[in-house]
Amino acid sequence: MDWTAKAPIGLFQKWMQVWGEINRRSYGLAIFPFIVLLIFLFPQSISATESFLMPLGPVAHEQKTHFFWATALTMVAILPVFILVPVILIKYRRKKGKGIYAPKWESYGPLEVIMWGVPFLVIFVLSFMLWRATISLDPYEEIEGVVPPISVQVVGLDWKWLFIYPELKIATVGELVVPVHTPVSMILTSDTVMQSFWIAALAGQIYVMPGMTTKLNFIATQNGKTQGENTQYTGKGFTGQKFDVLIKNEEAFQAWVAQVRARGIALDSETYNRLAMRTTRVEVQKELGTAQMPEHALYFTLTDPQLFQSVVMRYHSGKPLNMEQQPGTEKFGQGEDAAEGAQP
């Protein structure tokens, strides 16, 4: 089969001669990945604020600490690999290796003990940490604060999040504002498929599912701005399902509430159904937004205090939901862009 790629071979041969040199020192490669890992695992220039590496509250902060501790502890068991593999490779290479040769050597008691013991100890310590942290960071557990928590009801829609402040009788889309140093107690559901709610700088993710509720508790300890989003792929508008999170001090928060009340439109069932369609926030903004609202958010006043409950109960009526009644389906309604795949 001489037709097999004669020409490229010629080209390659030259190229290979150069690399042949490098090949001979193959063990040098062993430390390369470690260096790369260091570069990428600890990015120096974190400009993004949507990360738990730049926490705005104690929950994310503890998660960050835990992350670094876990990484550091595993190093106890892993660094020996990085260090010893190159050493062994050099010492026992066939050509020029200086180590002794023991072809039948196949077990050594004390070594076995170390091999099982060290990882076991590391895991033991890690497990202990895991246990403590998991209990203390149970997202369902309300956070103790000097002031009582503010409650927020969250509804996942295609492709936006609806935030209801039941006590304040307001609701928003595209913007979540919370007062600083005040615990936030969220209850979440979905009115479409399953999604995953996430504000990285404040707390971890939690799934939201139709007909069910999950909870998320956190507290912000710094004024600032970050982003939240959905991380579970849900279709064309998925990457646009983000919202701003603003942390304000008490007065600013009250001012904001007053503003929402003043400028918001009523969240009646008609409006809700528009929101619940298969549209991105930008699309509904065009339909429902008014000049008084900001460009990136919708403000509502809550007319039905049971809205959240009725969203959950939609799925417990005991009657089948056909597509016209199921938000998020094409039949329920969708934006114009959505008809033919949103081109980014």
């Binding site: 097999t4 390659f12 690399w19 090949n23 001979r24 193959s26 063990y27 490669l29 990945p33 890992l37 990428f40 990015p43 993004a48 990360s51 738990f52 998660q63 992350f67 595993t74 068991a77 690999v81 062994i88 490779l89 026992y92 290479r93 066939r94 290796g97 040769y101 072809p103 050597w105 070594l111 091999m115 099982w116 590391v122 895991i123 497990s127 942290a133 998991t134 997202p139 498929v193 399953m194 996430w198 971890g204 939690i206 139709p210 909870k215 989003e229 991380t231 792929y233 064309k236 998925f238 990457t239 799925y315 009657k319 597509m323 199921q326 998020g328 795949g341 949103a342 081109q343 980014p344």
Partner: protein, 691 residues
């Protein structure tokens, strides 16, 4: 719409063909889709043409398609895996390009979603699994000194339905579209309400059928290892690879059913309006997640365990030393297999269950690091006090050792629910699993490919290009996936076809460059094969032991005769062949030559492949009459096949004698070579004793 309301072509229409959209909606995305479709069609036509041109249909039929020989079935599995792999790889490239080009990518969101869904599905079910199964098929019976697997026809059937489901996936490129729900296909998103198209149906049937194939394979391998070992080969004399295969087969037997159930229930929801996972009427999608990961987690160990086995063989052979800590390794392998059934919840730590549950499953997950760590240390100790040769398989193995540890580390980090709440569904997770799948599974397979190729085909692969390819894989892998750790920590979700935050851009660019390097690696790999084919005369190793191997598969000629062993070996040691060589007992003629009974060729597998392929297609497209006919045909064919009474053939003793004597003659006339010359044309597969 009622499922019976469709015409005799079901949902099929002209608009289903991929090219039709090119006219109605011309765009880069559609061009990419149509190109992919054309490649499938073109490749099919080209293959059919070449087969006809070289008049090899007859050989193809009698030597390959109807063969029940485990070695040929193994090779067919691998070829199949490679074809699917090409697609999976290209999809990976396109995805990387899209993310590098974001926020102004060139693909529609749905198209991108199809890419990650098919990529994930293909890589796991149609690349990694068949590749592993193929290698095991080839090697394991040889290593345990058996003539074939326990159930050769069943073996053929497993291949048949795996292949037909793979072909179905290829068809989805041309007719209709694939699911956009990811490889995990979570409902309700994949339910009829939200995904009324045929996409999820393609996924369901491909999974159900290939899953059945894998289960049958698991049964076959388990029985083979438990019942067909050569005389004297106690459990603790089995090569390490066989142990890992045993554990992996057990995972196939017990882990595939949850997947089949999940996929079938999803199918019932979609086809017959059941309410397992729907939003309304008491359906519960959490059950799906639970079932999928009940399978999904053992699945990943199913893939990686045989790779661990391959590494064990490679480290020991190329360090010219016994495997260190055999019993430890066996125990570690078994612990991993059992533990893997107790950790599935770590894939949905964020679903809302109580911390107690998260703690239990988190700790169980971490525990797996212990036996895995023992394995890593044992491999290091195997090289310690050895004579290490830097051959291609060894470079993959060393690359694995270093890189896999990083992937394992990120796994342990993910196992902390606290941290997982932050990195779940991000690129950090994507980096984790590619970091275990590529250096773990694929490097293992590539090492195995380079290692056993001469046994299968009788000539060595080109060493230089092999090394080249290995380095390119290592470097390319690191460039592609390490940046994803960073991007994930900074909060980039997985499955994003675009992003607005330009912080991610540099990471995506580096990753794209990495993907290009990986492409070069693949090209080099193909080149290596072509060059080796060209030089096959020069690199022949007919004696069969090019690497100074240690287990039984090296004690016979290369390629191996159809009946494997003229006389079944009696085993006295763990490194049986090394032992025989050192005692000068190697290359002896058998005491007596006997007739050997082997299974005959059987067309059953091929027929089932065709029928099940049509059945799946008919189900996807709601062509009920066709589905009914093929389903009945399958039953009839299976029953009919049980009326075939003479499924064996006899290979006469004279023939065995002739083969063996010719081979022994060759051994006598061959110059043994030392290890320094093992990658030169002098190496004819006769290893010189060196110590």
């Amino acid at each position: 719409m009622n499922i019976m309301d469709y015409g005799w072509l079901g949902k099929l229409s002209w608009d289903s063909i991929v090219f039709s959209k090119l006219f109605t909606n011309f765009s880069v995305s559609e061009v990419v889709a149509s190109t992919a479709g054309s490649i499938v069609i073109f490749a099919t036509v080209a293959i059919l043409f070449l087969l006809t041109w070289f008049r090899v249909w007859g050989t193809l039929w009698s030597v390959w398609l109807t063969s029940t020989d485990h070695k040929r079935i193994g090779i067919m599995y691998i070829v199949f895996a490679l074809v699917m792999m090409t697609r999976g790889l290209l999809e990976g490239m396109v995805m990387r390009a899209q993310q590098a080009a974001a926020p102004d990518g060139f693909l529609y969101a749905d198209h991108f979603a199809q890419l990650f869904s098919t990529h994930g599905t293909i890589m796991i079910f149609f690349v990694a699994v068949p590749f592993v199964v193929g290698l095991v098929n080839y090697v394991m019976p040889l290593q345990i000194g058996a003539r074939d697997v326990a159930f050769p026809v069943l073996n053929q059937i497993s291949l048949a339905i795996t292949a037909s489901s793979g072909i179905l996936l290829m068809v989805s490129l041309v007719v209709g579209e694939f699911s956009t729900g990811g490889w995990s296909a979570y409902p309700p998103y994949t339910g009829t309400d939200f995904n009324p198209g045929v996409g999820p149906d393609y996924w369901i049937w491909a999974i159900v059928f290939s899953g059945a194939g894998t289960t049958l394979t698991g049964i076959n391998f388990t029985v083979t290892i438990l019942k067909c070992r050569a005389v004297g080969m106690g459990f603790f004399r089995m090569p390490m690879f066989c142990w890992t295969v045993l554990c992996s087969s057990i995972l196939m037997i017990f882990a595939m059913p949850p997947l089949s159930v999940a996929a079938l229930m999803l199918g019932f929801d979609r086809y017959l309006d059941f309410h397992f996972f729907t939003n309304d009427l008491g359906g519960n999608m959490m059950n799906y997640a639970n079932l999928f990961w009940l399978f999904g987690h053992p699945e990943v160990y199913l893939l990686v365990l045989p790779a661990y086995g391959i590494f064990s063989e490679v480290f020991s052979t190329y360090s010219a030393k016994r495997l260190y800590g055999y019993k430890s390794l066996v125990f570690a392998t078994m612990s991993i297999a059992v533990l893997s059934f107790t950790v599935w919840l770590h894939h949905f730590f964020t679903m809302g269950q109580s911390p107690t549950i998260n703690i239990v499953f988190g700790i169980a997950t971490m525990l797996i690091a212990v036996p895995t760590g023992v394995k890593v240390y044992d491999w290091m100790a195997t090289m310690y006090r050895g004579r290490i040769r830097f051959t291609t398989p060894m470079i993959y193995s060393i690359g694995f050792l270093i890189l896999f540890v990083i992937g394992g580390l990120s796994g342990v980090i993910l196992a902390n629910p606290t941290v997982d709440f932050q990195v779940h569904n991000t690129l950090f997770l994507v980096a984790h699993f590619h970091n275990v799948l590529i250096p773990g599974v694929l490097f293992g397979l590539l090492a195995g490919y380079n290692y056993w190729f001469p046994k299968a085909f009788g000539f060595r692969l080109d060493e230089r290009l092999g090394k080249w390819s290995a380095y390119l894989w290592i470097v390319g892998f690191m460039l592609t996936f390490f940046p994803l750790y960073g991007a994930g920590l900074l909060g980039m979700p997985r499955r994003s076809f675009s992003y607005m935050d330009l912080t991610f851009k540099p990471y995506m660019l580096v990753a794209f460059i990495g993907a290009m390097v990986v492409l070069c690696a693949l090209v080099t790999l193909i080149l290596q094969l072509l060059v080796s084919l060209r030089d096959r005369k020069k690199n022949r190793v007919p004696v069969g032991d090019p690497w100074d191997g240690r287990s039984l598969e090296w004690s016979i000629s290369a390629p191996a005769p159809s009946y494997n062993f003229a006389e079944l070996p009696r085993v006295t040691d763990r490194d049986e062949f090394t032992e025989t060589k050192e005692q000068g007992r190697a290359y002896q003629p058998p005491k007596v030559y006997r007739n050997i009974e082997m299974p005959r060729n059987n067309p059953l597998g091929f027929i089932l492949c065709v029928l099940s392929g049509i059945l799946m297609f008919a189900l996807v497209w709601y062509i009920w009459w066709l589905a009914l006919i093929t389903a009945l045909a399958i039953i009839v064919v299976v029953i009919a096949s049980t009326f075939r009474w003479d499924s064996e053939q006899i290979i006469p003793a004279s023939q065995v004698q002739q083969d063996t004597e010719r081979w022994l003659e060759l051994v006598k006339n061959t110059e043994p070579v030392g290890r320094d010359l093992e990658n030169t044309p002098q190496n004819n597969g006769y290893a010189k004793l060196e110590h």
